[in-house]
């Protein structure tokens, strides 16, 4: 069951197991949908599967089938190229008919490579151009404050995305205003498109950078579900005075050996026999 309004979730082993299972579901659905599109962001999605599943099955306060509930927690996907992993979750929450997934990227379908709030129920904001959504999330978080609502805003950012200057404009403003209901989750998978983020333009010392902008920082293994859940629930249920950056250390391509070893799988497509091998590996069938 998706997290529901006001439910007090604990880090019980049942919840953790459920999240783990849904993370694998995200990976398998990603493979299935990309095979329909004939192109897609495998390894970008695999690195954040546990993050997405933890948010949507353990942390966000949502109402099943009611994507417009005004008090829901918001999720914005700065690294919108991982939307293929978000859609199955949104369908699972009853926000749209799961059959739409079968027409992923086909003409007229709402589900494209990047999330689009004008087309996809449950998508809280559009993205695709890296660097915008932390500012958008800040606006939502400030809006909650100004309208007297108490929802939180979670922004998932790529580590390469942190190259964008706008990220740091948003960071400065969020720190300045002490926007405690804003959480940035950095998918620190180490790679952008052309190679290693820190070989290209380093973003270290990353934790210190966020702190210098007035943020609290938590570092966590982004595939460790109990740790993620614990971190995010503490932030949700505490009342932080500052915005928080959760630096989630992840593996780009997590779950598929050859993708973990070759950053080129940021984007691609698998012919039938390779896809079958990847599915076997994900299902742990040798």
């Amino acid at each position: 069951m998706p997290a529901s309004e006001g439910a007090s979730l604990t880090t019980s082993s049942e919840v953790v197991e459920r999240i783990r299972e849904r993370a694998q579901f995200v990976r398998l659905e990603t493979v299935r949908l990309i095979s329909i599109a004939k192109t897609g962001h495998y390894s970008s999605t695999f690195s954040c599967a546990e993050i997405l599943a933890t948010l949507y099955y353990g942390v966000l306060r949502l109402r099943h089938g009611d994507p417009q509930w005004p008090d829901r927690d918001r999720f914005v996907m700065g690294k919108g190229h991982a939307a293929v992993g978000l859609y199955p979750i949104l369908a699972d929450h009853g926000f749209f008919d799961p059959e739409l997934l079968d027409g992923y990227t086909r003409l007229g379908n709402p589900l494209g490579d990047h999330p689009d709030m004008t087309k996809v129920p449950g998508c809280d904001f559009s993205s695709g151009s890296l660097g915008h959504n932390l500012s958008v999330g800040l606006g939502m978080a400030l809006g909650a404050r100004m309208t007297g609502r108490d929802f939180n805003v979670y922004a998932l950012l790529g580590d390469g995305e942190l190259h964008e200057g706008q990220i740091w404009e948003a960071a400065a403003a969020a720190g300045h205003y002490g926007v405690g209901n804003l959480v940035a989750i950095v998918d620190r998978n180490g790679y952008c498109l052309d190679g290693k983020v820190d070989d290209i333009i380093t973003i270290e010392p990353l934790a210190d950078r966020w702190r210098a902008f007035g943020w609290d920082v938590v570092e966590v293994d982004g595939h460790d579900v109990p740790a993620l859940l614990d971190t995010l629930l503490r932030l949700r249920d505490g009342a932080p005075a500052k915005p928080t950056a959760v630096i989630a250390h992840t593996v780009k391509g997590k779950g598929v050996g050859f993708m973990e070893r070759d950053f080129g799988w940021h984007l691609g497509w698998l012919a039938e026999q390779d896809e079958a091998a990847v599915i076997r590996e994900l299902k742990d069938e040798k």
Binding site: A37, K38, G80, T105, R106, L107, G108, N109, P110, L111, G112, D113, H114, D116, K119, S126, S127, G128, S129, L130, G131, G160, E161, H163, E164, G165, C192, L193, D194, V197, I200, I201, G257, F258, D262, G264, W265, H266, L267, G268, W269, L270, A271, E272, Q273, D274, A277, E281
Partner: protein, 348 residues
């Protein structure tokens, strides 16, 4: 130069190449001759002694600059995912006598960096070249964030800017070279590097600022630019087979516009039709309309393209069909135009 493309091949768990058909970002380059050619063409400019420096915001596999990097790593600047920064860095580089080429998806280069381009490059008269690839709706289901159906209009209104949209990578190579010494900025608009080839390598008709007249026609002249040239040629063939007399012009240099070619077409045809992978406002059609109006030429003009809307999700070829921007679609639009009342009153 022969590039060693082994490193681009995707490999499976056993280290062996994956099945035929499987591809990833590096190997996608092997399917995109226009992009690999771009890397090579820029490399050739360095070989010719040009003070070229190439900047890429984390896109060297997406635009073929990998090939440039293989040849001239010393002239390659990787700036990470920071397009606006890249454009202003290029402005600074240009002040030192270098000739910077900034590459990027057209959506981010032309739209995200519009003000840096205007203020740091065009106003200051820096000879920076901007190469916007994956323009128009070539990105298909990546959606509006990745589409650029406004870039011609934006770049046209920036004073000191030249705007060029080559039809294929042959024309791109010729025009890149032709504009190498141009003292002011140039915006090159490219597709995704998989466009069908229109020109032979030694085609002498490809000259900066000069439209290429593929054919003249009494009934209609189709004026196309960039990615729409090839489908327009196909459409013209279809229409000719039905007995219409149809001309086709490749107006690759949109600014400055070859006004003489447009006027000649207006005088020689009963109607004109512009075809662009762009909003019908402000782009090729807008430029042609301005030229005609300025001269008081009242020829019927159909501006065909994206009619002031955002494209739906869909694979590129499906979107071309949807917008009638493929050969049969352009022919269909032309047929309707030829039959319409607008064409019966000859106001010339």
């Amino acid at each position: 130069m022969n590039l060693n493309t082994d490193s681009l091949v995707p490999r499976g768990a056993d280290g062996q190449p994956l099945a035929e058909g499987s591809w990833h970002i590096p190997s996608m380059l092997l399917k995109s001759p226009g992009l690999l050619a771009l890397g090579e063409q820029l490399g050739a400019l360095v070989d010719d002694g040009e003070p070229v420096v190439v900047l890429t915001p984390d896109l060297s596999f997406s635009n073929g600059l990998w090939a440039f990097h293989e040849r001239h790593p010393e002239r390659f600047l990787q700036l990470g995912v920071s397009e606006q920064n890249s454009v202003s860095v290029a402005a600074g580089l240009a002040t030192t006598g270098l000739r910077p080429y900034v590459t990027g998806f057209a959506s981010f280069l032309a739209l995200l960096c519009c003000e840096q381009i205007r203020t740091d490059i065009a106003y200051t008269r820096q000879p920076v070249r901007l190469i916007g690839h994956h323009s128009g709706i070539t990105f298909g289901f990546y959606g509006t964030s990745h589409h650029a159906t406004e870039d011609i209009a934006i770049m046209r209104t920036i004073a000191n800017m030249t705007v060029v949209a080559p039809a294929d990578h042959v024309a791109m190579g010729v025009l890149l070279k032709a504009y190498a010494d141009h003292p002011l900025p140039v915006y090159f608009r490219m597709g995704r590097g998989r466009e069908p080839i229109v020109y032979e390598p030694d085609d002498e008709r490809i000259r900066p600022g000069q439209a290429i007249v593929h054919a003249t026609g009494d009934d209609l002249t189709i004026i196309a630019t960039g990615t729409t040239v090839h489908p327009s040629l196909l459409a013209a063939e279809e229409l000719r087979a039905e007995g219409h007399s149809v001309g086709v012009i490749d107006l690759h240099t949109i600014k400055p516009l070859d006004e003489a070619a447009v006027v000649a077409a207006a005088q020689g045809s009963r109607g004109l039709m512009t075809v662009e992978e762009h909003n019908v406002y402000g782009g090729l059609g807008g430029a042609v309309a301005e030229t005609l109006t300025d001269r008081g030429i009242g020829v019927p003009l159909l501006r065909h393209g994206i009619r002031d809307e955002y494209a739906p999700i869909g694979p590129p070829t499906h979107l071309y069909r949807h917008y009638r921007l493929d050969g049969p679609g352009i022919a269909e639009e032309a047929r309707a135009f030829l039959k319409s009342g607008r064409m019966t009153s000859d106001v010339r």
